[in-house]
Symmetry: none
Subunit: 129 residues, 2 copies
């Protein structure tokens, strides 16, 4: 498939795909005789993986690392296992940070929902934050 198709299928722009290729998140696509990139169908799954990671707030560098590990396949390499362990630990850390932030925001939101407009003291900025 050409870059426009792949981009549309993944809900991205062609610019983004070329950027991801430059950034090492996508392997360089093979080219048609006319020089156009020709993507295999499973590129869309890879792009969607990247999209999910981005939606989760991961940086492209972290997504790139995870993809590189995934690309390493079945290599029973101790080094790769260590890297995967580190990724898992990092993901756990990020999840717990996000959950902590969530509970803070949930508390603020509950306070805001329980109050009336009268509880918003004009002298203060806003009692809810």
């Amino acid at each position: 498939m050409r870059i426009g198709e792949a981009a549309a299928a993944a809900g991205m722009t062609t610019k983004t795909l070329r950027f991801y290729e430059d950034s090492g998140l996508l392997p360089a696509a093979k080219r048609s005789p006319n020089g156009y990139r020709d993507y295999p169908d499973d590129s869309v799954a890879r792009l969607e993986f990247i999209r999910r990671g981005r939606a989760a707030g991961l940086a492209l560098t972290q997504i790139r690392e995870i993809l590189a590990l995934r690309d390493a396949g079945e290599a029973p390499c101790a080094h790769v296992q260590d890297l995967l362990s580190n990724q898992l630990a990092e993901l756990d850390h990020q999840i717990s940070e996000l959950m902590a932030l969530r509970s803070i925001v949930a508390g603020l939101h509950a306070t805001a929902a329980s109050g009336t407009d009268a509880s918003c003291d004009p002298e203060q900025i806003c009692s809810y934050l």
Copy 2:
């Protein structure tokens, strides 16, 4: 109070305060005869509000909107409540995406751990990482 005092009281740098002024989050402070900014005491409360908003993951543009409502004499509480709702929903989305990715990485790790030959040359196999 001078900018350094206000910044220290709010746990920020003087750079940040000037940046906030340029960005419309802080009104332009009145100046002492020597040209130094002279902040009223309640600026610290405003800065702490900004800090709390940032800590809750709000962008400066959102915080600016809240402050603008308050400065216009309106109680921004309903608006804040909306922002907090959105923030909560976004956090929930991010957390669920992160947990989905975590389970993918956990699967890779389990697969890698089930392999046999644990000794390999990190230089050779994993050099692309």
